[in-house]
Amino acid sequence: MSAATTDTLQILLAAGPGPGVGPLHDLRDAGRAALAKTGLPGRKTEIWKYTRLKALDGVAWTGPDARPEIDGDWIDAQAGFRDAWRIVLVNGRFDAGLSRLTDLPSAARIAPLPEAAGAHGAVAAALGQLANAERFPMVALNAACLEDGVAIGVEERALLEKPIHVVSITAPGAQPVAAHPRLLIRIGAGAQATLLESHLHLGDGAPAFTNAVLEIIVGEGARLGHYRIHDGPENALFVATTAVSVAGGAQYDAFALNIGAGLARNESMYKLDGERAEIAVNGAYLGVGGAHIDNTTFIDHARPNCQSQETFNGVLSDHARGVFQGKILVRPDAQNTDGHQMHKALLLSGKAEVDAKPELEIYADDVRCGHGATIGALDADQLFYLRARGVDEQAARALLIEAFLLDTVERIQDLAVREAFAEALTGRLRALQSSLAHGEAA
């Protein structure tokens, strides 16, 4: 660990609540202990090879206290999904005033993490199990700074008719702010729910660092749709570590949309932990300017007869950079596994870059697994076809870029979410149209 990152770690820890007391102190202590061993991810951490957190250095990070006023209308406008139960976190802290949980059925329990961990042994026991602080330094940092967060529980066989929408806002006031949102989600056996996540930023230009951790337990035969959108300015750093376990016969459908201009890293671990579990984890990203967008996924086929499908499409312009690391592990026990992964990147400028690292590790013999990756420019034949029909070059490019990204959005199983994500994406593309117009076709 370099001197700079050691200092950075001390600054970040000092911005947190300190060892203290309360139901989360065990977790905090464990996080600190783990960090004392590993430090922050650095040059030598293989899985962080392509993404550096150098922007964390030399910033006077502060805790969640200072925050600008936030009003509900702003959230409505930014986050959409008005017809959902809304959980608002500001700088990692649950904000009851901004949340909208009236008429939440009793089959769904939503509570601040300290309260839930204090009251329910199961919550306390589950915390930190899937997202392991010893193995993941960013999880350790989240734990070490943990003071709040939200626990969501859906009872067995409950069918929630509206989505639960987590709106996590990182809002620096005048000072740079480091936030560590934490969520624990438990979906009971046979239950069905949709979880939306909007990660937003609000501020006047001070740097923002978000280090979110989500642990999601999908019970037997349950169905969970889990859809995330992340947006943020150039000086925002966003790291989200998501650990999901999917029990037998359960279905998990996820999508991650990244359209932020700063650094974003989604690191996700999915464990197919019972027979006939099925997951679809897809995503799209759009990087402009100096954006850096990293999607790192680990799909762990631990049991037989499971299916996983993963498709990510990304568009990078200017000097933006994309990273896709996708590992699929098929354990010896996981016979009759279906696992398919695809990553496609469209580079709109000679300075845009992408690092793609697909990895299959297979120990069972009866498997159908595959991965593919393409990196290229816009298709010259398609561009010409459009232009030969009268569509000008700029509009033709925009149409092709949009189609490329929407191709994965189409995979979102929930129709309303699919439409909303498509709209978020097309809106952003329209705003960027002129800056995406340059560049060369293949």
Binding site: D381, Y385, A388, E402
Partner: protein, 251 residues
Amino acid sequence: MALLEIRDLQAEVDGKEILKGINLTVEAGEVHAVMGPNGSGKSTLSYVLAGREGYEVTGGEVLYDGENLLDLEPEERACEGLFLAFQYPVEIPGVAGTTFLRHALNAKRKYHGEDEYDAMEFVKFVRAKAKSLNLSDDMLKRPVNVGFSGGEKKRNETLQMAVLEPRLAVLDETDSGLDIDALKVVADGVNALRAPDRAMVVITHYQRLLDYVVPDKVHVMANGRIVKSGDKSLALELEERGYAHLLDAAA
């Protein structure tokens, strides 16, 4: 003034000379057929007219309605009424046929200072066009040409042509690979567009399309040049005797 006048047009692709001095004049109201062996440069000519990148004009000129066509961007040529039905229509995954064609039609309308169609107006307009040609507009719901059979792609080109109502249509083997019914559809599409102020250049290998779309002139292209021109009887003659005697004579 001719609608299209090609004078001594020379062009190369990847440094290789393909068109070696084409002369061709098409008057408004006429249909011209261009025939010729594989590799003679017919598609190259069509791409040069449409403005495809990589097709470098090294000599000669092309006047369209008296204006220098080669100065225009591909989209400007299209908006000015040039339409190329591609020999190999391009697949565009993720873009629905309706979206594609609405962009195309609205680009043209905007270019001419007309109001753009909204989605409803457009659907109505296209449906009427398709119906008049005995075509189904179902294929417009699918992504452009993706998974289409060869014949479906050609029908799609014909529908696009009908919707865009070009003044000069260049059809590059739009009749290839079609069954009899589809051939009729394409022929009807072409005939429906025939008008005193419009013209068509039909590139084909077969006489059978020309039974339905009777050409005013027939040209034979070989090795980057037009080696023979005549009336519709030339096509019949070629059908019988092939190109060999012409090529020998041209060599």
